[in-house]
Amino acid sequence: MTGADWPAPAPGAARLPSMVAAQAGLELRTLARNGEQVLLTLIIPVLLLVVFSSEALISVGRGSRIDFIAPGILALAVLSTSFTSLAIGTAFERRYGVLKRLGATPLSRSGLIAAKALTVLAVEAGQVVLIVVASVLLGWRPVTTAASLLSAAAVLIVGSVAFCGLAMLMAGSLRAEATLAAANLVYLVLLGIGGIVFPLTKFPASVRPALRLLPSGAMSDGLRGVLRYGVGLPARDLLVLAAWAVIGVAIAARTFRWE
């Protein structure tokens, strides 16, 4: 075999938007093919929604049970995608040299972060649609003024950024196996004490303020205020989430190791 027919070198980078779109597409296909990820991000939230809205497992205070549970499950969806799934996926990409290899392609680090952000947004958009449809079928009647929908979107987005920052902080410093264990543990702990399915009013008054400072507590509290009680802008919860976002992203940016 001779090489006379081999194409001569012709280097050049593609346009950034098409690189980002291609990478985001690969990440989405990877998630869709991964059974555990689908379980974590889609099946578990919907199962919890159905179980906790129908059974008298917990007392959620006055008002309809689904009005309490649905906002909490939306927060859980963000927790599962922005934190657990992102942390585990990124930690293993780091472990297997995927991030290192991408560093030698024309896709810049900011391009890769944009692709990951797009992937997270796409998955969360799907989760929100699924959870809202399921909740409405279960009898959910949220406040749907323009102001409350915008406020809810703000809580979801700022909360998502906060969890992404924490995910990158964990994935960029711990070993892959440690991240796998820790990210699942945090998920379970926040599911228990993060105000997602168990009202924070059930906890002793002494720990309640601390629990409301957790990102999941602030998210579910903010979403409930907006979608259940129609409060305008949940300023306090948004402030808590913004603080988590700034701290998480800043530390992750300084400590993240690509290999």
């Binding site: 090489g3 027919d5 012709a10 280097p11 291609a22 690969l26 290192k100 030698a104 896709l107």
Partner: protein, 310 residues
């Protein structure tokens, strides 16, 4: 060539804590050639290549790839340089063809993914997730990803490690094709046969420094060798007197003789006649008489020693 070399390394030093990975290495790789970097485990090959790729910062010395600084000019270099890591780098669940298509979409005028898949014998496994490919298939996919963007300079870190003979030959053909298309290839390898067959220039590195370099022919030299099998424990001193000064005779294992002519001397008809005449005098029959030259492996072991490296 008036151009700068594809890679130029001057006095490179890199330490990991107390370990001196690279200790003052200097070398260059000309454009359009295949340069093989050889060395025992831990000689500093991968560290050197990774500094050229911009993955690590040198502690001292200068490194230029295509005339550019691998860290300061990383952005400009990333689309011109192709990289094959020693292991990994590919998402474990990505399917072979899907992954290559995504890699292709990072470049302005890439090769067609199917063409590479076909050329590297991956057609059957195009839809297989990376983690379920065999080691050799993973290596070939990684090679395909390194060259899909049609780079000017390609770094291949042990490209044929763990390949079966068919896959190794397909890879060699592909690397030779890259050279004839005008690309520069830098490869590290443990296979001396690979360097001997492919490389235009061989660099032998040990303890983080250059110990020898040249074309394979220059390194193996014109030194002639003659091997034969006969009765064990013959006294060869009488033979050596009749051969050119500086000739060595070794018997290892018993009964297997190696006559090494001095450097620059080839085996000629007279040498052969001298050896067979001497055997006749001794009343022994020389069997399996063979005229040889040193291989790169002989040179490598001579330079880097025979002790095992961890």
């Amino acid at each position: 060539m008036g151009e700068t070399p594809a890679v130029e390394i001057c006095g490179l030093v890199k330490n990991y804590g107390r370990i001196k990975a690279v200790a003052g290495l200097s070398m260059r790789a000309e454009r359009g050639r295949i340069t093989a970097v050889l060395g025992p485990n831990g000689a500093g090959k991968t560290t050197t290549v990774e500094i050229c790729e911009g993955y690590r910062r040198a502690d001292a010395g200068t490194v230029r790839a295509l005339g550019l600084d691998p860290i300061r000019d990383a952005r400009a270099l990333r689309c011109r340089v192709g990289v094959m890591l020693q292991a990994g780098g590919i998402p474990t669940t990505a399917r072979a063809a899907d992954y290559l298509k995504v890699m292709a979409s990072f470049y302005s005028t890439p090769l067609a993914p199917w063409m590479l898949i076909d050329r590297l014998g991956l057609t059957e496994s195009a839809r297989t997730p990376f983690r379920r490919l065999s080691g050799g298939q993973q290596q070939r996919l990684s090679l395909a990803a390194a060259i899909i963007g049609r780079p000017e300079l390609v770094f291949l870190d042990e490209p044929t490690a763990g390949l079966d003979p068919q896959a190794r030959h397909a890879t060699w053909d592909l690397i030779a094709s890259l050279r004839s298309s005008g690309a520069t290839v830098i490869l590290t390898t443990h296979y001396l046969e690979e360097a001997e067959r492919l490389a235009d220039h061989v660099v032998i590195v040990d303890h983080g420094a250059l110990v020898a370099e040249g074309t394979p022919a220059e390194l193996t030299g014109a030194q002639g060798q003659l091997r034969f099998t006969a009765d064990p424990a013959l006294d060869t001193s009488g033979l050596l007197v009749a051969l050119p000064p500086g000739t060595l005779a070794k018997e290892s294992p018993a009964g297997q003789y190696l006559i090494e002519l001095p450097s620059g001397t080839a085996v000629d008809p007279r040498t052969l006649a001298t050896v067979t005449a001497w055997c006749a005098e001794q009343g022994v029959l020389a069997r399996n008489l063979r005229i040889d030259s040193r291989t790169l492996e002989d040179v490598f072991l001579e330079i880097t020693g025979r002790e095992l490296r961890s």
